[in-house]
């Protein structure tokens, strides 16, 4: 009797094992192979990224629809959308730099330092370099400057800031010091990023001894950007 019971357990366990094996055979898909936690995580990350993309695209669709609605209401109200289109064109022109601009902003003057050099010190330390100008320009952009000019040259998206000895070349024209950077934008932010402790221009004045002066201006005039020659390599995209 006891032996019988034992054998029954064995049969039952074998039965259980059979069920599990069948389930495994049924569930296992040879195409998938072994799936590790790592690959699952990677795929999850990818899905997350795709979801973000979809969200962004949906936002874009929403924006475009809004614009379309604006145009439509305008068309209904006044019979034409010429006004808003020309406004659009104007702001694009302003951003591209093809028209002269004015507005509130700041003026920065950069001059070589006039302190005495220490013994054995490199005189390059007190000279304004192209990269100093570049760095300050970038800081201004970070602070939200909408238009920047250097020595009266509008800084466009293809303007170069090139070192040419003691002078700097911008838009193909060479200027000696002082370098005057003018920027239109949120005045307080611009002043903070050019005079704040820890900013790049603060470092220039305190450590290198370069003469950096920042003025707040009510009416900054930035001339239009003049293209030198034609654009040869650009083609229209989609």
């Amino acid at each position: 009797m006891i032996k019988n019971k034992k054998i029954n357990t064995l049969v039952f366990m074998a039965f259980l094992l059979g069920i599990i094996i069948a389930l495994q055979v049924k569930s296992f898909n040879g195409n998938n192979g072994l799936v590790t936690l790592k690959s699952i995580m990677e795929i999850e990350n990818q899905i997350e990224l795709e979801k973000n993309d979809i969200q962004n695209l949906n936002k874009l669709i929403y924006q475009r629809k809004q614009e379309l609605m604006n145009y439509e209401t305008e068309l209904e109200d006044s019979g034409s959308i010429l006004n808003s289109l020309s406004e659009n064109r104007k702001s694009l022109k302003m951003a591209a730099g093809v028209i002269a601009l004015n507005g509130k902003g700041i003026k920065i003057e950069l001059r070589d330092g006039d302190r005495e050099l220490k013994e054995g010190e490199n005189p390059n330390n007190i000279i304004v370099h192209d990269q100093d100008v570049l760095h300050i320009v970038n800081d201004l952009k970070i602070a939200g400057a909408e238009a920047i000019s250097i020595n009266g040259q509008r800084l466009s998206s293809i303007s170069e800031i090139k070192c040419s000895g003691p002078t700097i070349t911008i838009n193909g024209r060479t200027y000696g010091q002082p370098f005057i950077i003018e920027a239109i934008g949120p005045v307080e932010d611009l002043i903070q990023i050019t005079t704040g402790i820890g900013s790049y221009s603060y470092l220039l004045t305190t450590i290198y001894g370069i003469d950096v002066r920042v003025y707040e201006e009510d009416d900054i005039k930035i001339p239009a950007f003049k293209l030198n020659g034609d654009l040869q390599y650009l083609g229209e995209g989609d």
Partner: protein, 123 residues
């Protein structure tokens, strides 16, 4: 032994027809657990043939081995070390040993029976 194999076959049939599947993610863990369970069942068949079969040892071994094997596979996945090799090697090796022992005892039984028969024939 015959009964155990019959139970196994019945289990496969039943398992094939019950409408239950699990996620593919667990298939690695389940497969090493199956290996452990298979080892337990073969071990039980062997010990029942060698007449030192113990019910409690078999049942506890069946479940704890399967759980430990699955857990090792999971832990290996977490640690980035393929720890599931451990159950595969240990239980796979033991499966062959058990099978060899079963075969030996079967053959011995068969031969002994034959001998007895021939002896009784001679007498």
């Amino acid at each position: 032994m015959l009964w155990a194999i019959l139970g196994l076959a019945l289990g496969v049939v039943v398992g094939y027809y019950i409408p239950f599947t699990y996620s593919d993610n667990y298939s690695l863990y389940i497969s090493v657990a199956i290996l452990a369970a298979m080892d337990s069942v073969f071990g039980a068949i062997r010990s029942s043939m060698e007449n030192h079969y113990n019910n409690i040892m078999f049942i506890t071994g069946f479940f704890t081995n399967a759980l430990l094997a699955a857990f090792l596979a999971y832990l290996g996945d977490r640690l980035g070390v393929p720890l599931y090799y451990a159950p595969i090697i240990v239980f796979g090796g033991r499966l062959f040993q058990n099978f060899a022992a079963i075969r030996r005892s079967l053959v011995e039984k068969f031969l002994m029976e034959k001998k007895r028969k021939t002896r009784s024939n001679i007498e």
